[in-house]
Point group: C2
Chain length 333, copies 2
């Protein structure tokens, strides 16, 4: 593989000139440039990025830590991130943790090893201190999740108000006994969505029977199982707010498995607006998150940090949207 010095020699110029042809072509005489580029062509020369990286101490690479790459919600955020990254000459290193904290930690280390210029976390199970420390030394942005009581740059929707909106929708449809299948409680998102649910219930002075709150884990199977459980309690709910679409669909299937119908017998609201939620029958009423935009914004923030810009503010809250479909019926049903 040809290197820069080979090009320089063959073109009868110095290495510096060759380098300049690539990095600041406007400072090189037209004729020289042509000469160099011709040799570059002849030798089929490509700059060795490793050397450049070492010299400039930058990798033009960022790491994205994802809790579950097979979840389309995250892969769509990821796509937003990647697009902006690519447009700015950055590459994306994938860190799929498969919901495993140990792996999450592994990926954080890549920063210290100078393997990446920055980090976007789509999951933040690691303790706050560790992440804050990391953030003091390197560009770090949280997306979707955030850390309680921390001022790290964050992009997300307001999960509390979104969950309140979802629950209120059910209340306005006339439901009084509304269950909530939560996400895992060690995740702030889940706690926020629970909080929103409770706020809605309280503001309509509806009592929340503790048995109506079931802790899930965002997976289909769990939604199914917990819904079954809810169906067999003494006084089953007439509506369920699930903390994500996957569990919501699990719940619907559980309801259908018992010969009951959605929304006629039980209404369901989900969260995330994954692709399947529009296609599934009954289609799912849910909270739509601007996945692509979250990714976009997160990456743009990270770029600002990498470039040493001051951020105007640290917490960015994007708009969510209640998407009304079949799974909870309509007011006049």
């Amino acid at each position: 593989m040809a290197k820069m010095s080979d090009v320089a020699k063959k073109a009868n110029v110095s290495i510096a000139t060759v380098s300049r042809v690539f990095s600041s072509p406007e400072t090189v005489a037209e004729e020289t440039k042509k000469k160099v580029l011709k040799v570059v062509e002849e030798l089929n020369y490509t700059p060795n990025v490793l050397a450049r990286q070492l010299r400039k101490m930058e990798t033009k690479t960022i790491v994205v830590v994802v809790p579950d790459i097979t979840n389309t919600f995250f892969s769509r955020v990821l796509r937003g991130i990647e697009t902006i990254a690519r447009e700015n000459g950055y590459r994306v290193l994938l860190g799929d943790t498969e919901n495993d904290i140990t792996l999450e930690n592994e990926y954080l280390k890549t920063l210290y090893e100078k393997h990446a210029d920055g980090l976007i976390l789509l999951t933040a199970r690691t303790d706050r201190i560790t992440i804050e420390k990391l953030s003091e030394n390197y560009p770090v942005v949280l997306a979707c999740e955030y850390l309680e009581g921390s001022n790290l740059p964050t992009v997300s929707i307001d999960n509390i108000s979104a969950a309140r909106k979802a629950t209120e929708h059910l209340i306005k449809l006339g439901h009084r006994r509304i269950a909530h299948i939560t996400g895992p409680m060690n995740v702030i998102l889940s706690r926020d969505r629970l909080k929103g649910y409770k706020q809605a219930m309280e503001s309509y002075e509806l009592e929340v029977d503790p048995i109506l709150i079931q802790e899930g884990d965002f997976y289909y199977k769990t939604g199914y199982n917990l819904m079954l459980k809810l169906l067999f309690i003494e006084n089953p709910p007439t509506a369920v707010f699930a903390a994500n679409d996957e569990m919501a669909i699990g719940a619907i299937k559980a309801i259908q498995s018992q010969g009951l119908k959605v929304p006629e017998d039980i209404a369901i609201v989900g969260f995330d607006n994954i692709k399947m939620s529009a296609i599934f029958s009954p289609s799912l009423t849910t909270i739509g998150q601007p996945t692509y935009k979250i990714g976009e914004k997160a990456m743009n923030l990270l770029l600002d940090l990498i470039r040493g810009k001051k951020l105007s503010k640290n917490q960015f809250v994007l708009d969510d949207k209640l998407i009304i479909r079949e799974s909870c019926g309509f007011k006049n049903d």
Copy 2:
């Protein structure tokens, strides 16, 4: 940030010794090692990977080119790849092409720039010559897709026989007029699945009406639209084999939108066994691909190539499986 020479100075040893403590600790005296490690601790030293990479001319990074990261089929293959990569100290650079050939080409370049040690292609729209040339110089593995007439290392299922199996299943259920919604014809997978479909039809001496073959693009919406079209032809099919699950589900929705039922009125078979296919109602009969295993095998092959091992053979065909669910009914219906 402390560097190796700082550690060396403070520990009163040479840089070489410090380096050895990390790369070949068994050659360093126990006492020296301790001394060095103590200083490493004190200075909070982490090796600069960039320098190592330049020196060793390896990045410990591979690129995976994916046509669509939001498709769970691919993200599951990706997970297999990443797991093996991680276990072997490799990082995964994500190359989501969003089905865009231009982007695909972009990612191929990263190899020439020494940004990665190897490449796994989950899509290969780029012309054969380019890819073969790349493969002559760098470790490249194809997964899922392959290149016609090329001997590149490949991991996939036998799409022809799988498609034949799927179609035969419909034939055995008594269907005679079976349509096929194909993938995009510029993709070898699609052509193979079409070939399998035709083989099955021929072996049962069933005539294939050209209008029953509709070219799709693997997307839900297209499956929906093409199915609508098929419903309104003169003599509509009683069964449809779709080249992937997403289109199959689109087809089912189209059928349902016309007040018809699956499988009672029209039977459907898909391909890929994405998560949704088991959950959807009716659940989808489909061909299951060993996604995780494909990823695993592809990465292991790539590791062999990177390490300069001779491959025992180049084409690895993994087993697929016909998964019978509700969407095509049962023999005695």
